[in-house]
Every structure is written in C-alpha cells, then in structure tokens.
Amino acid sequence: MHIHKFEQFWIKLSYGLIAFFIATVIYGFVAMDLKVIGDSGTIDPQNLQDTPFGNPGVREIIKNGETEYEVYVQTIQFSFVPGTAQPIEVPANHRVTFYITSPDVLHGFDVVGTNLNTMTIPGQISKFTTIFPEAREYGIVCNEYCGPAHHVMEGKINVVPESEFDKSTLVE
C-alpha cells in the first residue's frame, strides 16, 4: 500500500509522541525518584481496635537514630480520625509515615495541592512516607465518592516548626 510521505511523517511523529510520554514517565520514576502508593498489606476492617488503628494518631519512633513520626488514620463516613475533629499535627523536616485504612467504605485521602494522595480501602493499609519542608497548614479531602456527605468530608494537617511541636499530643 502506498502511503503519502506526509502521512508517513505524522504516523512516525505519533509513535515518537508515545515513546516520549513513556520516556518521561520512566525518567520520573528512575532519575527524579518519583513514587506512588504501592501494596502495603491487609487488615481486618472489622477488628481495627486490636491494631494501631484502634488508637489512631501520631506516634514518635526512632529509626536509624533519627526521630520519625507515624500517623495512623481511620477514614470513616464522613471524617478523618484524626484530621477532622482535631488536626493531625506533625513537625516540619521530619520523615512522616502515614498508615491509613477504612473500616466502612472506600474513601480517598488527598492532601490538597501536593502529590500526597491515596485511596483508603477497607481491608487494605495505605502507607506512604513524606517530609513536609515548611510549617503550614494543609487541607485533606476525601476524593473518592463515599456516600451522601462525601462532599463535607475534610480535615487538616498542621505542620509546625520542630520547636513548637507539642509532644503531649502523641499517642502511645
């Protein structure tokens, strides 16, 4: 079949575009070290009280000689626990690992204006680690439709300077 040279040119251009898209994604994950949520284990959503999710909140841990923080969050219709009733408070410039799960239905945990964004699925633990570089307040919204009051499901993360971090709010 004879194909006009212009058509041949833009067919090649289209293949090149696909190759370019794939190359940028590979570059992001290899050279820029971008990461996305992976598989982080399962849990019985009916029995969260026997797990760290039974006492959700911020915990301090020492890992490799560094102080790090773990945040256990339950997403329930229609709030983040903690997050909605009281903000999640963490210090700036420390590694913070979030563990999030849901005892009822599918929710989302989207830290607005950042790349921190995960589904929270009953029976699954969503885990991600980040460092908040500056002290400021971040909003959290549920970005997976979870029921009639989904649109009001929101919370806050308060990132404070390390010197102002109140360790009395930590949970055991």
Binding site: F6, W10, L13, G28, I37, N115, L116, F128, T129
Partner: protein, 71 residues
C-alpha cells in the same frame, strides 16, 4: 458541483477521457504531488501544543507538586 460532475463515470460514458468527463478540473496530479502543507503545519502546531501541555502537566503540575511521596 455541476450536474455533469456529479454524474458517475458510467453514466457519462466510459469511452470519454477523465478530462472530458471533468472539464472544470484543470490538472490531475498523483498522490505524491499533492502537498497539503497547511495540514502539515496544523499537525505540527497541535503536536507542539500536546508536547508542551504534557511537559507542563507532568514536570510542573505532578513532579513539582511537593511535598511528594518519598517512600
């Protein structure tokens, strides 16, 4: 289009040449002589827009949206 042009070649008579059947068309060219440069230019402009939008979306909106997941 005139009635003559809209007639099928069979109806116009197969014994007449293509030029006789289509007197308004001055010259027949081959497919490779047809050079749609305007279409090529538009295609390149659309291509450039898609590439620039992708670079903006991926590197600025996604990768540049710190804080990010580090582990």
């Amino acid at each position: 289009m005139s009635d003559e042009l809209s007639q099928s070649p069979d109806a116009a008579g197969a014994d007449r040449s293509w030029e006789e059947r289509n007197p308004d068309i001055e010259r027949e060219i081959t497919i490779d002589e047809f050079q749609p440069k305007g279409t090529l230019t538009l295609t390149l402009i659309y291509f450039a827009i898609v590439v620039l939008m992708w670079i903006f979306m991926y590197f600025v909106e996604f990768a540049g949206n710190a804080p990010s997941i580090i582990d």
